[in-house]
């Protein structure tokens, strides 16, 4: 489990994370979403004890990262692709990490095999492609068989086959009861990978919940068609709904659920031909939520 309490991280002139509270639970894949520059990587670096919080704290399994003994056995992280001395071989890179946390070398060959890099174990990392570097980072994260895993933008540089592989990996890690925390700036990616979603923008928490919660909470509309449009419109407005006329007999109703619209129509004796909830896609929800929080927008939007 990862817990973040009142976390604020200020760099010289910017506030990267502002009073953030989060809990990342084990057993599910938690997507960490936000536009570029929203504070995702900063939050992950603070969790890993790499950056010091200006205020607040982050704990892993109830302990600050600094207090973990042999931390690679508890937390594994992929923070940057190819953050390895280019002259070193993949195996030596992993062996150096393994040695520091008393992880047996046999585990190094195991994870290299698992991520599909066994055949290039002795090659210089400098000659690796971005995707191979990403796989090496994943091997490093899995090295200590940790219960908590963090992945910062893991699909960058992976080919479609690699993307599918990594999605399956996240799900199986979560199914084993591990905490899996994955950041991305792409909602479409998280929609198919994550169970829980945390959205931040400009260092603030925007929303969190399950994928279905988020789409449900979004202001969806209900399209309703009946035998007396005018009467229907009147009762709906009286009930506080926003009503938009679609055509002669159809209305698009906001602020009310399909159930409420159906009940009102029934009470009023209006016969309904159609009652269709319109769900916003997760992508639309995300765009709406983060619209005010894009640090480097493209001007027109």
């Amino acid at each position: 489990m990862i817990a973040i309490e009142h976390l604020t991280k200020r760099y010289r002139t910017t506030v990267a994370v502002d009073d953030l509270d989060l809990v990342v639970q084990p057993g599910v894949v938690t997507g960490f979403l936000g536009p570029n520059g929203s504070g995702k990587s900063t939050t992950m670096r603070v969790i890993m004890g790499l950056d010091r919080p200006s205020r607040g704290r982050a704990t892993v399994n109830g302990q600050p990262y600094h207090d973990l003994r042999d931390p690679l056995r508890e937390v594994g992280a992929l923070l940057e692709a190819k953050a390895v001395n280019p002259g070193r071989s993949a195996r030596n890179h992993l062996r150096a990490l393994a040695a520091s946390n008393k992880i047996p070398y046999s585990r190094v060959d195991e994870v290299l095999e698992f991520v599909g890099l066994a055949s290039v174990a002795t090659k210089r990392v400098g000659d690796f492609s971005l995707g191979m570097g990403q796989r090496l980072g994943i091997a490093a994260a899995l090295l200590g068989d940790p219960g908590v895993l963090l992945f910062d933008e893991p699909v960058n540089g992976l080919d479609p086959e690699g993307i599918r592989w990594i999605r399956d990996l996240f799900r199986s890690l979560a199914a084993e009861g591990r905490t899996v925390f994955v950041s991305s700036h792409l909602m479409s990616e998280m929609a198919v990978t994550a169970d829980q979603i945390i959205v931040i923008g400009r260092g603030h928490l925007i929303t969190q919940g399950s994928v279905s919660d988020l789409t449900a909470a979004a202001k969806g509309a209900v399209v309703v068609r009946g035998n007396d449009r005018e009467r229907l419109e009147r009762v709906l407005r009286a009930a506080g709904a926003t009503v938009e006329i679609v055509n002669d007999d159809a209305l698009r109703v906001g602020e009310l659920t399909a159930e409420a619209v159906g009940q009102l129509a029934f009470d009023e004796g209006v016969v309904l031909f159609e009652l269709t909830p319109e769900r916003a896609s997760l992508e639309e929800v995300y765009m709406t939520l983060t619209a005010g929080a894009v640090e480097y927008g493209s001007g027109a939007s």
């Binding site: 790499l50 690679l72 937390v75 940057e80 390895v84 002259g87």
Partner: protein, 260 residues
């Protein structure tokens, strides 16, 4: 902090890193080549011109001259020390290192142990080889020195210590500056530019300040009798060791406070 039970494993980790990149291996090879190769050139040249320059015979030191290659090798060891740290920053692997060992002082100590262990062996082997080779080249023409003379043994031994300490200073600069180019510039300035600046000062100042410069400390450490106005060999070793210790302490203190 008392001796933490994991320090040994962090040292093992840093040893793997040190020997698994070309820059360390090249650095060690260059240290040998410069110390021994330039020592051979200097001593051979002195032997050739010995009879033609009788004035040079006064105050001639067969030890210092045979160790002349260390003047060049000192840059190689400085670079070895600096790159051992800065290569982690340039590649970004420092984050993986600190994630594996969040108590950063342990990383500092482990890297220091690996560097000192490696450089002591390399430097001492290099200076003893170049000394013996130099005396062999001098033999029969130029006066020679013997390791059975205590001051001679001390001068050669201290030559290796001088190189090792400069390697530590390079490493401390690496932690403080994090960039290879910046480190190498500052290191070179300390060794080469500082004496030039001092030379421009009034002569009374020159003598007072000059003895504190790393290069003067090194000259004193590597000669049988120290140059005029310099500290004794033992005092020079202490002053240089103090520089290295203070720089490392400042680097470690800064490191625990800064973001990785």
């Amino acid at each position: 902090m008392s001796a933490h039970p994991t320090l040994a494993s962090v040292i093992r980790s840093e040893w793997i890193k040190f020997r698994s990149v070309r820059s360390s291996i090249m650095g060690v090879a260059i240290t040998f080549v410069l110390t021994i190769g330039i020592g051979a050139l200097i001593t051979a040249s002195i032997r050739t011109h010995w009879s033609a320059h009788p004035a040079a015979h006064i105050g001639f030191d067969p030890v210092t001259t045979s160790l002349g290659g260390t003047l060049f090798a000192q840059f190689a060891v400085g670079v070895i020390g600096a790159l051992f740290v800065t290569s982690e920053y340039s590649s970004g692997s420092i984050r993986a290192t600190f994630a594996a060992t969040p108590r950063r002082v342990e990383v500092v100590l482990a890297k220091l142990v690996v560097l000192v262990g490696s450089l002591l062996v390399v430097s001492e082997v290099a200076v003893f080889v170049t000394f013996l080779m130099g005396q062999a080249i001098y033999a029969g023409v130029v006066p020679t020195a013997s390791l059975s003379t205590p001051t001679v043994l001390r001068a050669v031994l201290f030559g290796g210590l001088y190189l090792t300490l400069l390697g530590i200073i390079g490493m401390a600069l690496g932690w403080l500056l994090r960039q290879s180019a910046a480190c190498i510039s500052v290191f070179t300035s300390l060794i080469l530019v500082l004496p030039i600046v001092t030379f421009l000062l009034p002569s009374s100042w020159q003598n007072t300040i000059g003895r504190f410069e790393p290069s003067t400390l090194g000259q004193s450490m590597e000669s049988v009798s120290p140059p005029a106005h310099a500290f004794s060999a033992g005092a020079s070793l202490l002053v240089l060791a103090l520089y290295a210790a203070v720089l490392m302490a400042v680097a470690a203190a800064a490191l625990t406070r800064r973001d990785a």
